[in-house]
């Protein structure tokens, strides 16, 4: 293979592009700007950690199937882990959202970071909803028969049938977690690429 041929390969071009965008010292930095000095900054990583625990506890539930938690004390405990990690996940995510809003964290070309965050939030709400209707108990009977009216009214109910537990469970354990993880990864990588947003300037004009 000639040198030019190697340069033109997809692999070479993709690798160079990625390394240029996100060199190792940016992907895994060992310093941060001195303005990162507030507890409000921990809620992003807290949300991420909660997502890991949600997936881990969900995986535990998956080991013995969707009915296990109704008839086993270990299974019920796994369900409790899943419920509380979801509560922590939303708790941290919303505090993170509040913090990022009041920092106007979209500044300096970071609009996509904000937007991926919002889409991740909405995807998480959908993921939680499909979880609630997959519980196979009274709560899921009620939630699904109520929610069907909202979803049916949009026309989506013809394809997204909340009364079909099999469909809802598969959205919950396959499609939506995949979407949430991909979106979260994009969001976190964008933060690494752009860096943490600097404070507001107190001066009027800047030469650019």
């Amino acid at each position: 293979m000639s040198y030019t041929e190697i340069e033109r390969q997809w692999t070479t071009r993709l690798r160079r592009r990625f390394v240029h965008l996100l060199p190792p010292e940016k992907l895994l930095p060992d310093t941060q700007p001195t303005y990162v000095s507030s507890w409000i900054y921990v809620f992003g990583v807290t949300t991420l950690s909660a997502l890991v625990v949600v997936i881990a506890s969900g995986s535990l539930l998956a080991i013995r199937g969707p009915q296990w938690w109704h008839t086993s004390s270990v299974g019920h405990f796994a369900n409790s882990l899943h419920l509380w990690s979801v509560e922590i996940f939303f708790f941290a995510m919303v505090v993170h959202l509040w913090g990022k809003y009041f920092m106007a964290a979209w500044r300096g070309g970071r609009a996509l970071t904000w937007m991926t965050g919002v889409v991740t939030f909405l995807t998480s709400v959908a993921a939680a909803f499909t979880g609630y209707v997959s519980q196979s108990n009274f709560d899921s009977q009620w939630i699904s028969t109520q929610a069907k009216d909202g979803i049916n009214a949009t026309g989506a109910g013809a394809y997204f049938n909340v009364l079909n537990m099999g469909q809802m469970l598969m959205w919950h354990i396959v499609l939506l977690p995949l979407a949430a993880v991909v979106l979260t990864a994009l969001h976190v990588l964008l933060v690494r690429v752009k860096g943490v947003v600097p404070p507001f300037e107190e001066h009027a004009e800047v030469s650019v």
Partner: protein
């Protein structure tokens, strides 16, 4: 089929308590969660963050 739950030291299975204010109805549990979120946000903003001297050295 019955089983003994592993834990739940303070099970919350009893009928929910609700707060009413005009047309607003909210469970005590949800209210506590929301208040905790607001308190957490405020505390996160005002609580001193460690490492001040080190950041001053690196200015």
């Amino acid at each position: 089929m019955s089983f003994t739950r592993i834990a739940a030291l303070v099970p919350l299975d009893t009928l929910g308590h609700y707060l009413h204010w005009h047309f607003i109805q909210i469970s005590v549990a949800n209210f506590v969660v929301i208040v905790l979120m607001v308190v957490t946000f405020v505390v996160a903003l005002v609580a001193p963050f460690p490492g001040r001297r080190r950041r001053k050295e690196n200015q």
